[in-house]
């Protein structure tokens, strides 16, 4: 009769076990995006929203809510202070928000390390690309250039601006940075018009133009993607350890290029479910197919790795942070 007892015991425990496993059946999960519709963060979020339900227990509906404003500080504040830690709200925002926290931007009401991190859905490699018909074919030639090379940018805070700025101020490249373009697409048009000679930016956004042979990549930051491994890295040319630290600080968030978080205090089992779901979704061939169509690369970085990088960023000594703030302002 012992097996009968065992069966009853098992049946008794089963509902408890089932209840312990988070289940989202019949519920709606909201992805809060700190940007307006149409941009990269929004597109990634919508792609994930489409495929995530298949990998979450209970197959909930996943919708996207745009909450732009304050360069996504508003969305981050919302995730930190308002959203409930019940696993029904996840958020994605500007990857440079840790920098905003570090440089004490006014209005920051979050602590990056206290979010329940799901992880990052992509890496981003930042590169500088210049027009193909310029006589500089590689980084060395660019360094030795006698004439100014004009680089277009959108404004401080964007990698279109910050990356070449550090190349110019810390490595001494002869660059002239012209900022104020409304978007990186406008800068590409300006390149075609020969109004500017190049731009910096994410490899993903520059790839169609590199393939079209309009521009060529010259130098990259620390993070890399397929096909860019051979490019020289900006940090390796840094003249002083401090300069190197500043460049490293600028590019640190790039590994967490598409950050996804749950509100602080979310139970560990829910966080685990999401981490597994994200990893599975990103590997899912259906997702990969759609991502390829949209010409972006997804790559899962775990929450633990993200937190580790963040702690490193946020523990930089004050003098480095002060020096950094002289060059880099948090912005779009």
């Amino acid at each position: 009769m012992k097996w009968k007892l065992a069966l009853i015991a098992a049946l008794a425990v089963l509902p408890l076990v089932a209840a312990a496993q988070p289940n989202f059946a019949g519920k709606t999960v909201t992805v809060v995006v700190g940007y307006k519709p149409g941009g990269g963060y929004d597109a990634t979020a919508r792609l994930l929203a489409r495929h995530l339900p298949d990998h979450l227990p209970g197959k909930p509906t996943v919708i996207v809510q745009n909450m732009p404003g304050g360069n996504s500080i508003i969305a981050a504040n919302h995730m930190y202070n308002v959203a409930k830690p019940d696993g029904l709200t996840i958020g994605t925002f500007n990857r440079n928000l840790p920098i905003a926290q570090l440089t004490r931007v006014q209005g920051v009401k979050y602590d990056m390390t206290k979010f329940a991190w799901i992880g990052s859905a992509a890496n981003e490699a930042t590169i500088l690309a210049i027009r193909n018909d310029l006589p500089y074919k590689n980084f060395d030639e660019l360094r030795r250039a006698k004439e100014q090379v004009v680089i277009g940018s959108t404004g401080p805070g964007a990698n279109t601006h910050d990356f070449p700025l550090l190349l110019k101020d810390l490595l001494g490249l002869k660059l002239k940075i012209v900022s104020g373009y409304s978007s990186s697409a406008d800068i590409m048009l300006a390149i075609e018009r020969k109004e500017v000679d190049g731009r910096a930016g994410s490899y993903t956004s520059l790839k169609p133009f590199i393939d079209r042979k309009l521009v060529r990549p010259i130098v990259r930051a620390r993070s890399t993607e397929a096909g860019l491994e051979q490019l020289p890295i900006d940090e390796s040319f840094a003249p002083t350890p401090r300069a190197k630290a500043i460049m490293a600080l600028r590019s640190a968030p790039e590994v967490i290029a598409r950050p996804y978080v749950l509100p602080p205090g979310t139970p560990a089992d829910i966080v685990k479910v999401y981490r597994d779901a994200f990893a599975a979704t990103i590997k899912d061939p259906a997702t990969v197919a759609d991502a390829n169509k949209a010409q972006f690369d997804l790559d899962y970085t775990s929450g633990e790795e993200a937190v580790r990088i963040l702690k490193e960023v946020l523990s930089q000594p004050k003098d480095i942070v002060d020096e950094f703030s002289k060059y880099i302002k948090f912005g779009e």
């Binding site: 307006k36 909450m67 404003g69 805070g157 104020g180 079209r212 949209a294």
Partner: protein
């Protein structure tokens, strides 16, 4: 090229893309009608659905939706005085005034007909421009774009009342708009300007809540004060005859319609100016067609030309805006940016390929715009009686509904209550401006063009030092700007001479 043109047409006429186009039209119809809910937000919402469609089907759907938003947006603007879209605010000035006189049918007829003409011209421009599109767009560099913004600002003179004091008020409104455009983080030094220490203002004032507040709130207040229906005591009249009258008006002022369509197409083609400008420039141009000061005063009271101008420009700019999006991958507006996302989703890269390898697909886009507009206009004409009957409905039934839609429209662009506050604040500003007799149009122009003017000026100076001032296109545009500013004065002078 002719074969590609025909092939494009055949692509759209297959039953699946056609069905999707109708679905898109159905959705776009309501999106345009609802104030504040932008074509852009809905485009973004619809994007996931097109993952599994073929390119022709997907674009028939997206473009079908997008093309009609401007047309039905005009309907809301005319009937209720509430901007259906950010791009259909200008038509309120005369269109709604006509509705209040009981001439809603005529206004709608004129708006629909001019929209159709505008859309056709925009589509034709898109098709014809394909061979010359690249050199055309490449001629317009930052200096030229700066000058274009100045030309746009010059229209403030046309939008103001006559006389020195009228001009002062017009430029006061315009200056205020320019000043408000400075709010936000500046792209040169990264300073947060005029943000009152709030995060919300960091990225500047959003156009939709401001527009909705500026135009809708005074109208709502007026409705409550009057206590009657929109048409008030004026007999709504035989609507269908009115509509026919409106259509005839479009042909009576045919050259104005064509010119405003061209203005719209041109603004659409130049990336970086944004769509909201076209309607105001067209309206300003329409007011210039008044031959006497008395006629000029008629604008804002219900002159049908004030409906035709913006109506045509709004739709023609859509065809124009597709040009830089398709040929260069540079979107001319937010909706175009999302459409461009659609391109990528379908595995297409906007650029020279679209004009060569995928030419039939590009032409199918042109045909979609044409067909979608024809169908929508036809549908609107059929529904005209129902629509105009709304102007006879008691005000107190409409007020809560309009108020709800206005608040929702304002909230949903950024999911922020602050937007509603902005709407209310600008509602107050708009109300006081109307009481004081100040024109609101220049404020909108200033707000829309301010950042563009500043950024392109800095880029021009940084890149070319002073040399940009002597570029040929820049000089031509400068002359046009001066001409536009002086036009009202010249008109007044000539009128006085004639009376002397």
């Amino acid at each position: 090229m002719l074969e590609a043109l025909l092939e494009g047409l055949l692509l759209v006429l297959q039953w699946k893309p056609f069905a999707f186009m109708l679905a898109g039209i159905g959705i776009g119809f309501w999106v345009g009608l609802l104030p504040g809910i932008g074509g852009a937000t809905t485009l973004a919402l619809m994007l996931p659905f097109i993952y599994n469609m073929q390119p022709v089907e997907a674009f028939a759907f997206l473009l079908g939706m997008h093309s009609v938003v401007a047309t039905t947006g005009d309907v809301t603007s005319i009937l209720f005085g509430v901007p259906g879209e950010a791009t259909t605010a200008a038509i309120i000035l005369d269109g709604h005034a006509m509705a209040k006189k009981g001439e809603a049918g005529r206004a709608l007829g004129a708006a629909l007909a001019s929209s159709l003409v505008g859309a056709l011209i925009g589509a034709a421009a898109l098709a014809l421009a394909i061979p010359i599109v690249r050199p055309l767009v490449l001629t317009f560099g930052s200096p030229e774009l700066f000058m274009l913004a100045i030309v746009g600002l010059a229209f403030i003179a046309s939008l103001s009342a006559q006389g020195a004091r009228g001009m002062v008020r017009g430029f006061l409104a315009g200056g205020l708009g320019l000043f408000l455009a400075m709010v936000g983080q500046d792209p040169q030094a990264g300073i947060a300007r005029f943000t009152l220490d709030t995060l919300y203002l960091w990225q500047g004032l959003d156009l939709v809540p401001v527009l909705v507040g500026l135009f809708a709130i005074p109208e709502i207040i007026d409705l409550v004060v009057r206590g009657t229906s929109i048409a008030g005591d004026a007999p709504v009249g035989r609507v269908s005859r009115g509509a026919l009258e409106g259509v005839k008006d479009v042909f009576r002022h045919f050259w104005l319609t064509i010119r405003c369509s061209l203005i719209g197409t041109f603004i659409g083609i130049t990336p970086g100016l944004g769509g909201a400008v076209a309607q105001w420039m067209a309206y300003g141009h329409a007011t210039q067609s008044a031959r006497t000061p008395e006629e000029r005063k008629g604008f804002g009271q219900g002159d049908v030309r004030g409906v035709i101008g913006p109506g045509a420009a709004c739709n023609s700019k859509e065809g124009g805006a597709l040009i830089p999006t398709i040929a260069f991958g540079v979107p001319g507006s937010t909706s175009m940016a999302i459409l461009r996302g659609g391109f990528f989703l379908l595995g297409l890269v906007p650029g020279p390929d679209m004009l060569t390898k995928h030419l039939p697909l590009t032409f199918s886009l042109v045909w979609t715009i044409v067909l979608a507009n024809v169908i929508t206009v036809a549908a609107c004409f059929l529904l005209l009686n129902r629509l105009t009957a709304l102007t006879a409905v008691q005000g107190h039934l409409l007020v809560p509904v309009i108020l709800v839609l206005v608040f929702i429209g304002s909230y949903t662009s950024n999911s922020s209550y602050a937007d509603i506050v902005v709407t209310i604040v600008f509602g107050a500003v708009g109300y006081f401006m109307v009481v004081a007799g100040w024109p609101r149009a220049p404020l909108v122009l200033g707000l829309v063009l301010g950042k563009i003017a500043e950024n392109y000026l800095y880029i021009s100076v940084a890149r070319y030092d002073a040399g940009w001032l002597t570029r040929p296109v820049v000089l031509v545009l400068l002359a046009i700007a001066v001409g536009v500013i002086l036009y009202p004065a010249i008109q007044a002078w000539r009128a006085r001479r004639r009376h002397a």
